[in-house]
């Protein structure tokens, strides 16, 4: 598996997938840079006037609900329905689902367009799985990621999707398999948008590999290993963000494969 994941990392560099992003204002710059660093091409637009044309030339779509309002949710709905109809992959980041009714409802509506991958923290995944509100502490997670595994399995089965729950341990769940990734570092929670970066990278991987479970596992593995190694060279969250971009660009096979801590399970 580890070698296959590394192959997927190389494939992104070779295929240079074009990733359309409808994402939040806070992370647009850093997620565009993360996509460029791994060899993908980011494109950021929410304009309905060009959505059909952009969908045709793009390899994947990233929908991130971070700075949501009605205008943006309309763009997200339109874009994801186009990708769904075209049979092109897309990833949903239900930022803040559970923190407000507006977000929970919006995330559930987007689910109807069959996201290929969903990436969230434990609270968001739990909120998506519950019919009603979960309390939430802003956009951070106060649940441990393992608390959301059952919710993730339920969503993965019901929506035929891949669910990534990131946290101290990261879980990637399909209807038949589950990967647990134990990389990363606590300081990463002090850099804004590294969860959104996982989501964006997932877009690049599903845009260049049609085995979506493997693609999502590869994206989450990459940011986990890179974040962990970057932290060792960092004095704080400022240098950490910078070193993560450098390492996404330059990490070697040896550094990646020898540091990845992953377990793979078949699900019953």
């Amino acid at each position: 598996m580890v070698n296959k994941i590394w192959q997927n990392v190389r494939t992104v560099h070779q295929k240079n997938p074009l990733v359309l992003n409808i994402t939040n204002f806070v992370v647009m710059n850093t997620t565009a840079n993360a996509l460029l660093a791994i060899g993908a091409s980011p494109l950021m637009s929410k304009a309905e006037d060009e959505m059909n044309e952009l969908a045709l030339i793009s390899n994947a779509l990233v929908v991130n609900m971070g700075t949501l309002d009605r205008e943006w949710i309309e763009a997200m709905t339109l874009a994801s329905s186009i990708f769904n109809e075209l049979g092109k992959p897309w990833v949903l980041d239900p930022v803040g689902a559970g923190a407000s009714k507006f977000r929970t409802v919006s995330a559930r509506e987007l689910l109807k367009n069959n996201p290929t991958v969903i990436r969230g923290n434990a609270s968001e995944i739990i909120a998506l799985a519950e019919a009603n509100f979960s309390d939430s502490y802003g956009v951070d997670s106060k649940h441990q990621s393992r608390d959301a595994v059952e919710a993730g399995k339920k969503i993965a089965k019901q929506y035929h999707t891949v669910v990534c729950i990131t946290g101290e341990v990261d879980y990637v769940i399909s209807s038949t398999k589950m990967a647990m990734i134990k990389n990363g570092h606590k300081m990463m929670t002090r850099v804004t948008g590294l969860g959104c970066t996982s989501t964006a990278l997932s877009g690049a991987f599903i845009g260049s590999n049609s085995n979506y479970f493997e693609a999502a596992v590869s994206a989450i593995s990459l940011i986990g290993v890179v974040g962990e190694l970057a932290e060792k060279q960092s004095k704080g969250p400022g240098t950490l963000q910078m070193n993560i971009l450098d390492l996404l660009y330059s990490i070697s096979e040896e550094a990646f494969t020898s540091n990845l801590k992953i377990d793979l399970h078949e699900l019953p």
Copy 2:
């Protein structure tokens, strides 16, 4: 006072206040990172559909007029009125007040919702205090901060608020007290949004300390000392921004208290 200020810095780390930000596109990423670095949790939304719910879970609100338009001013007005009614603290950054009628009028309207703290440069504070326009050099200040002290005192008394005027010397003014902080470095004016960062940090401090004068003094002191120390390790504004985030995260009590240059006055 210096030890009390350091205690307030520690309190933010311990209480982990949730700070709702309606701020400008230019600084969303860097101010979210600054809030995370000091131990607060940023939340960025302007959606009217969720404002009541987000206000209930947040500890403070930051309103920053940087990239203003009608839609945003409506969101700022709604959010600040909710915080005002809930008796929760909020901070106003009247970016560019005085540079256009639209901004001056918008800032004055927001004043009606009783900001707990106002943070601006000298031109902005003067424009707020004057009934008519002051000329302005964009969003930078061409006035010295001391030129705005009388304007600041007037606003602090009239609106029962705390006014922070940042510049070569920083002034924090309540109706009964004034602090002068002589930290910082000129290179900080070559990094975009460090004024907005002062404002955002003020939000975290008033969200975790109900002595709002002391909270504002602590926020302005922290960014001043951190900026000054960060500059010593920086080759230019790129490294300066990064080192500021690192030091907001890691500054020691010894480094902070031995470098803070502050004077405190009772006002007549």
Copy 3:
């Protein structure tokens, strides 16, 4: 020419031009920082309510179509028409022209307001020159910059403007002259928005020098040399972005003039 270009770099520091930017969400922070680093003052607003007042106090306008929608294109049209009427210089970055009908049409409409400078990659300049679509690979260029030189000459003549085509070699073209600049480094394509940074810097230079060809040549030369030197100190795109900001702020005359590789031609 090289000494004159360096003089123009110094002039920006001395005149401190105020540059109004209507630009995309992805690069607002980094282009504001680039403008500050070279000694200019950025101002970011799209509010129609203040556009007349801001135009009066600004020295130049930057219009960048990166994250376009109808609301933004209206603001860009209004602002550029005001600058055109005032006889103040403005620069157009037709991001993604050719990638969608919406972008191509929008860019052509903006041309009617007589941009002083147009800065794009080869695909964008070709799309502008063609009456119909060119295929396009997102917002990256798949054409070489030299492929667009004839298109650039046509636009420069027809619209009495200066056209900058950036790529492996940069071309700056007026109706009578052409400069070729052979600086920069491939890693710069892995940092988002460095093309937008060239555009923003062009705004600062035309805002402080009425010889617009020379101003554009100076801006493109500066980012090229700075990017090339910054790459030598960088481990990846994260450090590269930071080092570029540092060097825009601190580059010496000696480092600049000895590294600039420029050829100047009279056009027939």
